[in-house]
């Protein structure tokens, strides 16, 4: 097959030829079996490839990166924008590279643990502790980091209710994604891992 004819057929298959030119090519093909066979092959292939079109897929949820995060890990931001409150907290989950988002965990095997960073901004406080399901509700101190207080935990996947204790005052995380009632008429923040 001549290169020029292969290009004509490509243009035909791609719909680039006007009706007159396309008919002229098909008329020539009726005189040239090799050309006719080539056209049939290319049109048949296009039909085969068309079976792969239009498949509806939904990739897993996107986990946005954090610009300054370590390259070996991905930060997953769990909390919303800051509420207008006198203290601010945040929870970050650092997962080892390659594990993907939380939805991918079940498909790729359970991770040994999820590293969590809890942080709470309260520059006026003299002590901030955190208590929750993960430590038997025994308040553990957070370390001061400038205006913030922070700690790192490694926890198995699951749900954990927790509260901060700021200078002795039990305080719900103002940015928690979800809450649940505790047994004292208040709401505990809930961490989902």
């Amino acid at each position: 097959m001549k290169r020029r004819d292969r290009e004509w057929v490509r243009a035909l298959v791609d719909g680039e030829l006007d009706a007159t030119t396309a008919e002229a090519l098909r008329a020539r093909a009726r005189q040239q079996p090799e050309l006719a066979a080539y056209i049939a092959r290319m049109e048949g292939l296009r039909s085969n490839l068309a079976t792969l079109r239009g498949v509806s897929v939904s990739p897993r949820p996107f986990v946005a990166p954090q610009k300054n995060a370590e390259k070996s890990g991905r930060w997953l931001w769990l909390m919303g924008p800051l509420a207008a409150v006198g203290a601010a907290a945040a929870v970050f989950v650092l997962k080892p590279a390659g594990q993907g988002g939380p939805d991918a965990g079940a498909a790729q095997g359970e991770p040994a643990g999820v590293e969590v960073r809890l942080s709470f901004a309260a520059p006026q406080a003299s002590e901030v502790r955190v208590a929750g399901d993960f430590n038997g509700w025994q308040p553990e101190p957070l370390a001061r980091e400038g205006d913030r207080w922070a700690t790192h935990l490694r926890l198995p996947p699951g749900r954990y209710a927790y509260m901060y204790v700021v200078d002795g005052q039990w305080t719900a995380d103002p940015e928690a994604h979800s809450f649940r009632d505790d047994e004292f008429g208040r709401k505990n923040a809930v961490l989902h891992l």
Binding site: R6, E7, R10, V13, D14, R41, M42, G44, L45, R46, N48, L49, A50, T51, L52, R53, V55, S56, V57, S58, P59, R60, P61, F62, V63, A64, P65, Q66, K67, N68, W75, L76, W77, L78, M79, G80, P81, L82, A83, V85, G86, A87, A88, A90, G100, G101, P102, D103, A104, A121, A122, P123, Q124, D147, R148, E175, A176, H177, S178, F179
Partner: protein
Amino acid sequence: MVQTSVMRFSRSSPGEGDPRGGQPPGPMPASPVPAVDDDQALVARFQAGDASAFRPLYSRHAPAVYRLALRMTASTAEAEDITQVVFERAWLALDRFRTGEAQVSTWLYRVAANACLDHLKSARRRHERGSGDELAWQADPRLSPEAQVAGAQARGRVERALQALPEKYRLVVVLRDIEERPYEEIRTILQLPITTLKMRAVRGREKLAAALEQGT
């Protein structure tokens, strides 16, 4: 008043309201969303600091990126990873995107094509490329039941032949014959002259037809 550190990730706009009441800014769902804003408006919002504008961009374009990656790798797991990489790159680079120069979809295809080639090259270097989970099409639970059943065998045959095609031809065939992108757009995606693309389409189709005829 206590101040909190402002992280690049925690973009917020004045109108977002109570974080507990609205949609959380964590993992972004790939479910379709109403096309309230066009892509350019969404990019402008993102560049102005509204991270929530990324969500509809992802919902609109992730399926196409995933499909391209799936056709290039024949592996749902690898396609998932590539899709994540593409949108991570997009997240970090969208500030520099100039809406007048290209469509968002074209730009994302370009990022995706490069990510696919990078991935395949890297996997080859690690000798990790096998035949892929070549029948992933049939096993992918996210496809509709009709899509899983109808023509699965024929699709599997075409898919295997496609995987046997050299990458430079496969990219062109996938973009042109499956994703149905015009050559002008493919030129922008792959940064190649149109004459080169058309020649690759010819050769790629010929190789593919030959592979199918041989029962690959």
